[in-house]
Amino acid sequence: MKKKVLALVCSAVMLFGLTACGKEAETVTDTTAPAQESKPAIDISAAKLMSDGVLNVGCEVGYPPFEDFAEDGTTPKGYDVDIITAVADKLGLKVNIINTAWDGIFAGIGVNYDVVCSAVTITPERMETMIFSTPYINNYQAVVLLADDPKEVKSFNDLDGMSIALQKETTSDILMSDYKSTGTIDIQIVANEKVTSCFTQLQNGEVDAVVVDSTVADGYINSSKDFKIVYEDQSEPEQFGIAMAPENTALQAAVNQALKELEEEGFIKETYDYWFGAAAE
């Protein structure tokens, strides 16, 4: 009897494994199909790529709606994924998304992948060690509260005395840490590895507010009625770009050309509306 059960379990596991493989293969063909029918690709012969015909992309998958795994748990989806796939199509390349931890993600450029497309803010410090494509989205810092919270937040100074959840080592973290260390406001910073943990903490009532990229906040508000955005800091806008190794200027030029074409075709606007909602901006 026991043996029979074991065999059943074994075959179930094998079946599961087979279906998982099947799905992966499916997605690969999905992404390549449009590449073949597209018109003459942008010339990328001068650009350095890790492998022929493939654009390896470093991405911290777990930052919806920019990047997140679909229900099957293996297919990345999101705004960044759509943009980078379209860019690669323009360059006549296949996309290979490599899921990486945010810590040390930039150290892998030119080692594990060609570019990083993972909601990366263009900052002067980062531009010292890497180059960026032209920005493909604008972003602000936003304050999110529970939908039934009566508190009024008209500026970051109104956060005084609250416990704030945010994602570690992001612009939100840098900004809020600066507000705290300069003595502007007194807050408790609750730093998490993943932005999803911040929203779980808010929902469970562990923290009072979440400070996060406005784009991410838009995505959450769209998909859940539990949260609301109470403040967006329009004074310090940020721009997201695709990060590349500093010597890879040829790739930068090609990516910029692709982004420009996508902008003209209205693809970027369309994708933005799809992921963040047309009313968001």
């Binding site: 810590d103 040390g104 100074n157 005395g161 416990s163 959840a165 570690k168 080592e169 840098i174 600066d178 507000y179 260390s181 300069t182 003595g183 502007t184 007194d186 408790q188 609750v190 730093a191 998490n192 590895e193 943990s197 779980t200 903490q201 929902q203 469970n204 009532g205 562990e206 923290v207």
Partner: protein
């Protein structure tokens, strides 16, 4: 034999006293906070004065005092980044913007941050030590109960203890932490920080700490149960029989004869478990707490300094050395029973 041992002992004590005296003298001779901050350049002073009336302040003033040496830095945020760093040692103030003094300043600052001085109890080395000590304490207590349950002749008790140990040893600690912190309150509709006063600003960290301690103690209990069980079962069966012959009950035999002897045998393994928990304590990063490893990793990613791991290693070694010494003493104390 005895004499030479005493000589060795007094030698150690004298060295310790000399080191402490030197440290106290160095500590008294280091310049004060005002002296360090009086070095501030006029431009920076102007920024500080402007901040006084501003609702969005720009200057961060850091002051770290570390026993014999101190460090101060002023830095601004925004497009024009300015920063000034000073190290105070032996009555003198050094510029620490580059060269050797910069490294010295960084070391003081990193060590200060990792020790969690001036921060709440749930931060840095203080968190690591508190969490580890309490975990092992509760773990051994829970483990003893579970071990007695497992070797008990009552079938249900034995099966229940066995199931508990199987569950907590068979699942990863990280997931247990997630479940205690996120899943349990999510299902039952409470928040860990509600255990504390609403006006307590640190309630969120304290709540997370309680959740972490529960997860760690439940997990450690399962491991300690096996340590205690093997120690008890290693005591010769003849002792049980002798105690029975003397008319002792099961409880008496356990508390008076078996457990006192088995303590000595379980100390080395408990010490091992202690060191394991000490390092596993870094898993609290998952629920927004920062132990030594998390702080050092944070400094690494935000400042890109690989030097930060050196003070981290030193702090860990000092902690393990201290507790190793204590476990040694306990083991010696209990060896009189054998």
């Amino acid at each position: 034999m005895k004499k030479s041992e005493m000589k060795k002992h007094s030698g150690q004590i004298i060295t310790a006293i000399v080191i402490i005296v030197i440290c106290i003298i160095l500590g008294l001779l280091k310049p004060g906070r005002e002296t360090l901050l009086s070095m501030t350049s006029p431009e920076m002073q102007k920024m500080i004065d402007a901040d006084a009336s501003s609702t969005r302040k720009r200057v961060t003033v850091t002051y770290n005092s570390l026993f014999i040496i101190n460090y101060a830095s002023l830095s601004t945020s925004g497009a024009n980044v300015m920063s000034e760093r000073y190290v105070g040692f032996l009555g003198k103030v050094y510029q620490a913007d580059e060269g050797v003094m910069k490294v010295v300043g960084q070391m003081v600052n990193y060590t200060y941050r990792m020790l969690g001085v001036g921060e709440n109890l749930m931060h840095g080395a203080k968190l690591t030590i508190t969490l580890t000590t309490l975990t092992v304490l509760f773990g051994v207590l829970l483990g003893t109960l579970l071990a007695l349950g497992k070797i008990s002749k009552k079938k249900i008790l034995s099966k229940l203890s066995g199931a508990y140990i199987f569950f907590f040893r068979g699942t990863p600690l990280l997931i247990q932490i997630f479940v205690v912190y996120f899943t349990v309150p999510g299902i039952f509709g409470f928040a860990w920080r509600d255990l504390f006063n609403v006006n307590d600003a640190e309630a969120v960290y304290k709540g997370a700490f309680i959740a972490a301690l529960i997860a760690f103690a439940l997990n450690s209990g399962a491991y300690c149960a096996e340590i205690v069980r093997s120690a008890i079962q290693s005591i010769d069966k003849g002792q049980f029989e002798a105690a029975k012959a003397l008319g002792m009950s099961y409880g008496q035999t356990m508390t008076r004869i078996i457990i006192p002897q088995s303590i000595r045998r379980m100390i080395p393994n408990v010490s091992n478990e202690f060191i394991m928990v000490l390092k596993d304590a870094s898993l609290v990063f998952a629920i927004s707490l920062m132990d030594i490893t998390t702080v050092s990793k944070n400094i690494m990613t935000s400042e890109g300094s690989y030097l930060v791991f050196i003070p981290a290693l030193v702090i860990y070694l000092v902690i393990t050395a201290f507790f190793g010494f204590i476990f040694d003493k306990i083991e010696k104390k209990f060896s009189v029973y054998e």
